[in-house]
């Protein structure tokens, strides 16, 4: 019998089954899967380590585990003790646990510290065909390499630390095909915001998404990570993109990339991961890249978005009563009137950062818009590189100067205003154009209002003070510096 054609996700899954599930009472018990890489940070790990201590268990594979400090860390004065006692305690606890269990940790101040999802790929630890987990929902980022990458809870973190495996229920597959070419000023963030607006925040539930098509193939790794990062905002278990030459070029030469003969063996394996011709997906969605415009959210979930050239919708525009009610609530929270052109919305703050958009390409693109221009004097702009390496590289390219001359604040690496666990928070009622991934009520600070945007839209917005497309800014000449 010929082998059934498989999707990439199914291939990666199949290669990692340690103990297959069994049929029991008409139901299938979960498969036990091997985990290739476990990323750890300070928020979801303390109780997992304590669980190990209580049961007197070691970490099975410290050599497949790596930790970094990111969620709580300050982005200013990083040489001083962390002011907030809870934040400090979480960070101190991670340091003690890493020491006790022999886990590699990149602490605040270390050149490899940064947001866990920026650090893994940057070190070359994220590779195609791997299973990657982390106690954080945006672990889906690593799927950009053709890895099966999933967020897990604290008790699962403990399970992986102790056994390097995880019991996982089977998933469904969804193909998201994006064909065409993006217009200038339109980026991968706009693709994923459009996908979520199309399928809804629950549309991916139970699925592993595979992004494919000519528009995806043209994207850099940084841009692909932005897309996979937000798979979770569509409710999906993971998102993946097939590895190709772009992927291999990115990995080659990184600290943990395979070398010599290993490299050839690895690439051969990676090439075979692609979804087989004739493999069937449980669902399919098609997006036309040529038609996409810069996208922006108006509401309080990432699915509540429109093109920048649109207006704020009215609750009556939604047929579904649940959508209507949630639009009504969102508009009230966001203090927006239906019919307002998105471009007329004034913001107080622009945040360029988070594991969605804080890599070199994001910083370069934003800097390209603001270079030689002036910031709207009423807008505060904060730039937080995803990792210290990104910060150092940006400084080597002089981007820090571009941001500073523009009037933006240039910070140290971390999650920062993405979730406001550190001092970087919005004030009640403050409105923010943010390159992060969640616009939930209070996410960036109690009472704060978030509009999710791409890095170039964030930059253009900082110039004009209202939500703006890059083209709004590029039509004016930069001032001679």
């Amino acid at each position: 019998m010929a082998d059934k054609p498989l999707t990439m996700a199914e291939k990666v899954w199949r290669e990692h089954v340690v103990v297959p599930g069994e049929e029991k009472g008409g139901q299938r018990t979960p498969d036990l899967l091997y985990i290739d890489l476990h990323l750890v940070h300070e928020v979801t790990s303390p109780q997992a380590f304590e669980g190990l201590r209580l049961a007197d268990r070691p970490v099975r594979r410290p050599d497949l585990t790596i930790a970094t400090e990111d969620h709580n860390t300050p982005t200013l004065e990083i040489d001083k003790p962390i002011a907030d006692p809870i934040s400090r305690k979480q960070v101190d606890t991670l340091r003690a646990n890493a020491e006790e269990f022999g886990i590699r940790l990149h602490s605040l101040g270390d050149d490899d510290q940064g947001i866990v999802h920026v650090v893994g790929p940057q070190l070359g630890l994220t590779q195609p065909g791997m299973t990657v987990v982390c106690g954080d929902s945006h672990t889906s980022t690593h799927g950009a390499f053709g890895a099966l990458a999933m967020g897990i809870g604290t008790s699962e973190v403990e399970h992986v630390l102790a056994t390097q495996t995880l019991s996982l229920k089977p998933f469904k597959t969804m193909a998201i095909t994006v064909e065409g070419t993006l217009k200038p000023g339109v980026s991968s963030k706009d693709i994923i915001l459009a996908v979520i607006a199309k399928i809804g925040t629950g549309g991916g539930q139970g699925y592993v998404l595979e992004y494919r098509g000519s528009a995806i193939e043209q994207l850099s790794m940084d841009a692909r990570m932005t897309i996979c990062n937000m798979s979770i905002e569509a409710g999906a278990r993971a998102g993946m993109i097939a590895p190709d030459e772009t992927t291999f070029d990115y990995i080659k030469g990184r600290p943990h990339a395979p070398q010599g003969a290993d490299w050839d063996a690895a690439v051969e394996n990676w090439r075979a991961l692609r979804t087989d011709a004739g493999a069937e997906f449980d669902a399919e969605v098609v997006i036309d890249a040529d038609a996409l415009e810069p996208f922006v959210t108006w509401g309080t979930n990432p699915g509540q978005g429109v093109s920048l050239s649109d207006t704020v919708p009215a609750p009556e525009d939604f047929d579904d009563p649940v959508d209507r009610e949630s639009a009504e609530r969102a508009l009230k929270y966001m203090d927006l009137a239906p019919g307002t052109p998105m471009r007329d919305i004034r913001v107080d703050t622009v945040f360029l950062g988070s594991c969605t958009n804080s890599r070199m390409e994001d910083l370069r693109a934003a800097a390209g818009i603001i270079r030689g221009r002036e910031k709207d004097p009423q807008v505060r702009m904060i730039v937080v590189p995803g990792s210290q390496r990104v910060r150092l590289q940006a400084e080597a390219e002089g981007l820090d100067q571009v941001f500073k001359e523009f009037g933006a604040e240039w910070r140290f690496a971390g999650c920062s205003m993405c979730l406001g666990m550190n001092p970087d928070q919005l004030q009640p009622g403050e409105r923010c154009a943010s390159t992060s991934n969640r616009n939930f009520e209070g996410r960036q600070g109690k009472g704060g209002r978030t509009h999710l945007v791409s890095p170039v839209v964030a930059a253009a917005t900082a110039v004009r003070g209202t939500l703006s497309a890059p083209s709004d800014v590029l039509s004016t000449e930069p001032q001679p510096a």
Partner: protein, 199 residues
């Protein structure tokens, strides 16, 4: 996780239905970084009331909680089970449990004995008539006994087996340690390792 086959301890009558996880442990305690020491958090708002059952010396050392129907509804927080266990409870008796709470309990070694409501009422009466009376729980025979009352309880075979063997999720997986080792032996050499660190 300690195996539990038979347990005898002071019974605590909690005459309340729909005890949700917010009542078992309020959200403010979720910021803690520990896995133990949640005994003070258990029913913390109710315990401010001097009349609350756990504030009565006869019941303070209780290990078997006898509650009203729909125990453990609300959020999926595992902390609810930790708080009950940290306080010293080994068994909760009720006529109905929330699914997720029951699942979490089974994994953490807390017995949830589902007893018919008329039997719960009889046990309550016994415990109130004689505060500090003991309840005997037999997982093997699936029975609860208190004074003159004897009731059988329901628990699924799989959870019962795990409790009697003292197997948490991790112990269960570790019974497959050989499979894991065999799998590890087949992993390609070039798969990345975090140690030694290469920078």
């Amino acid at each position: 996780m300690e195996p539990i086959i038979r347990h005898t301890g002071v019974g605590v009558p909690l005459r309340a239905s729909n005890v949700d996880t917010d009542q078992i442990i309020p959200a403010v305690y979720l910021k803690r970084i520990t896995r133990t020491g949640f005994e003070d958090a258990l029913f913390s708002s109710w315990r401010k009331d001097p009349e609350f059952v756990l504030n009565q010396p006869a019941y303070a050392q209780g290990t078997v909680l006898v509650a009203g129907p729909d125990f453990g509804t609300g959020s999926s927080r595992e902390h609810a089970v930790w708080a009950l266990k940290d306080y010293g409870f080994r068994v909760v008796v009720a006529s109905r449990f929330a699914d997720i709470f029951r699942g979490n309990s089974g994994k953490q070694g807390l017995v949830t004995a589902q007893v018919a409501q008329p039997d719960v009422e009889l046990i309550w009466k016994e415990l109130e008539k004689e505060p500090g009376a003991e309840v005997q729980v037999d997982l093997e025979a699936r029975t609860v006994r208190c004074g003159s009352v004897e009731a059988s309880f329901e628990i699924d075979d799989y959870t019962r087996w795990r409790l009697m063997e003292g197997l948490d999720d991790i112990s269960l997986t570790l019974t497959r340690a050989e499979d894991i080792e065999q799998f590890e032996a087949t992993r390609p050499e070039w798969k990345p390792k975090t140690l030694p660190a290469r920078i």
